[in-house]
């Protein structure tokens, strides 16, 4: 039993989500422990991104629970018949502020410089004075290798640089958990490495991360725990060694087969 393990930082149980008649998530169970790097892999349409977006309520989930530090995200259950009520805008925003997210398409604020992008949440959400927020922003921009780009606007930066600013913007908020949604998929191949390097650096520093990725090599090297999703369910989960070397389901074997060339080159 897992009684010896501490309570997970993120605990998802039976998470369900439909778009119209189409059920995307059919009951996802997932734990992420403090300091862990968990990777979600699977074919497109398997629900990885939708699940990730439920965690900070960019999508509403209809069934199940998602707990962060034991507190349910987005809803409270009350009354005799366990009625599910959405939390207030202020509560939801406070919960979101504890979860960072990095997007596939960067989504920087185009009317703000790199530094202002990082500072916005620090001043308006964390309530930090401008000077302190600026100091934190500069620290993180330097950490992602963009100290000399802090006054640049997003359109003056390459895709890889924009994504690194987006990572700095998310980490600067000191989130409990960082979500990465296919963050290298929109990048030119030669820019992928610089973003992965930043993520690896964060993983080493003990940041708790949950990532959706098609970078199998990176997942294999960096993740502590890998979750293979198929058809809206967790099909298999385990250590990278278990998933990549002993895939127990035909679907996983088939899925990994596509990455065969890449994966066999390291082993």
């Amino acid at each position: 039993m897992s009684t010896s393990k501490p309570t997970p930082l993120l605990q998802a149980r039976g998470v369900k989500k439909s778009f119209g008649d189409l059920q995307i998530l059919k009951g996802i169970d997932l734990d992420v422990h403090q300091g862990q790097v968990v990777a979600l892999i699977g074919a497109s349409g398997s629900g990885k991104t939708t699940f990730l977006r439920c965690i900070n309520l960019l999508e509403e989930y209809e069934g199940g629970t998602i707990l962060l530090d034991g507190e349910q995200i987005g809803y409270r259950v009350e009354g005799e018949n366990d009625e599910r009520r959405r939390l207030s805008e202020a509560r939801v925003s406070a919960q979101r502020a504890r979860i960072g997210m990095v997007f596939q398409s960067f989504n920087l604020f185009p009317h703000m410089s790199a530094e202002q992008n990082v500072m916005l949440g620090l001043t308006k959400v964390r309530g930090k004075p401008k000077a302190e927020a600026q100091e934190i922003a500069r620290h993180w921009l330097a950490r992602v290798g963009l100290a000399d780009r802090r006054d640049h606007y997003p359109y003056q930066l390459s895709g890889g640089q924009q994504q690194r600013v987006a990572i700095a913007r998310a980490v600067a908020m000191e989130p409990r958990l960082l979500l990465f949604d296919e963050v290298t998929s929109a990048l030119d191949p030669e820019l992928v490495a610089e973003v992965l390097a930043v993520m690896q650096d964060l993983a080493k520093s003990g940041m708790t991360m949950l990532l959706v990725s098609h970078e199998m090599l990176f997942v294999r090297q960096v993740a502590d725990h890998v979750v293979f999703m198929d058809g809206g369910l967790v099909a298999q989960a385990g250590s990278p060694a278990e998933i990549f070397e002993r895939p127990s389901t035909p679907r996983l074997r088939q899925f990994l087969g596509r990455f065969h060339g890449i994966l066999s080159s390291v082993t």
């Binding site: 900070n56 604020f109 009317h111 949440g121 308006k124 359109y155 913007r169 998310a170």
Partner: protein, 223 residues
């Protein structure tokens, strides 16, 4: 050229105070309308985008009804219609109310379109860092929508300036009517109507130049 009685320049000189006062009325009624319609249009436009359903329907009804009625009818209604209910509004204000009511509907619709045309990504990023609705509006959505809304908004402003000529119908001596009054004295029909056309053109040229300047200022909002 001698300033003789009956020449165009002489007649302009004679009518100068009347013409300047007309120009003042045109500019002030247009400016007031633009300010009121922009403020109310912004509020209604945001309500139209994010309001709860009954509120959206109500605003939608207002916008569609107002846009479907000729401005002239609105102006006549504001002046004569309100008088029938024993609400006496001076012609200038009746005109401004009618023009503002009409332009508010246009600007509300423009702003709704501007907000809805924004890519979702920036809003989601703003949510993800924990900004609340009003903060997302103030720091992300409005600044980004402003850039998109600027060109159609400048068009509406130019329309407003032209629509002020309709106030002459209810006896507001704006620039067009002040020209017509001059023509009634001296019969220089072509000259004074040409003068009116050129002045309106100049006002709207100034507006479009201002707009171009603002657009250049926001050029770095590329997305």
């Amino acid at each position: 050229m001698a300033l003789e009685r009956g020449t165009f320049l002489y007649e302009i000189w004679v009518a100068r105070w009347s013409l300047l006062s007309g120009l003042g009325i045109t500019v002030s009624s247009a400016a007031l309308t633009i300010v009121i319609a922009t403020l109310l249009g912004m509020i209604l436009g945001i309500g139209l985008t994010y309001g709860w359903r009954p509120l959206r329907w109500l605003i939608r009804l207002y916008v569609d009804v107002l846009r479907g009625i000729p401005v002239l009818v609105l102006i006549l209604f504001a002046y004569y219609g309100l008088a029938m209910f024993k609400i006496n509004v001076p012609p200038f204000w009746a005109g401004v109310i009618a023009l503002a009511a009409f332009s508010t509907a246009h600007i509300a619709e423009t702003i709704r379109g501007g907000i809805q045309s924004l890519p979702q990504g920036q809003t989601e990023a703003a949510k993800a860092i924990g900004l609340q609705f009003h903060q997302r509006l103030a720091y992300v959505i409005i600044p980004l929508a402003t850039r998109r809304v600027l060109p159609p908004w400048m068009n509406t402003c130019a329309e407003i300036v032209k629509n002020t000529t309709l106030l002459s119908i209810i006896g507001v001596v704006e620039f067009l009517l002040s020209n017509q009054q001059a023509i009634a004295r001296n019969y220089l029909v072509l000259q004074f109507y040409l003068l009116a056309a050129v002045v309106y053109l100049l006002i709207n040229f100034t507006i479009s130049q201002l707009g171009a300047m603002l657009e250049r200022r926001y050029a770095h909002f590329r997305y």
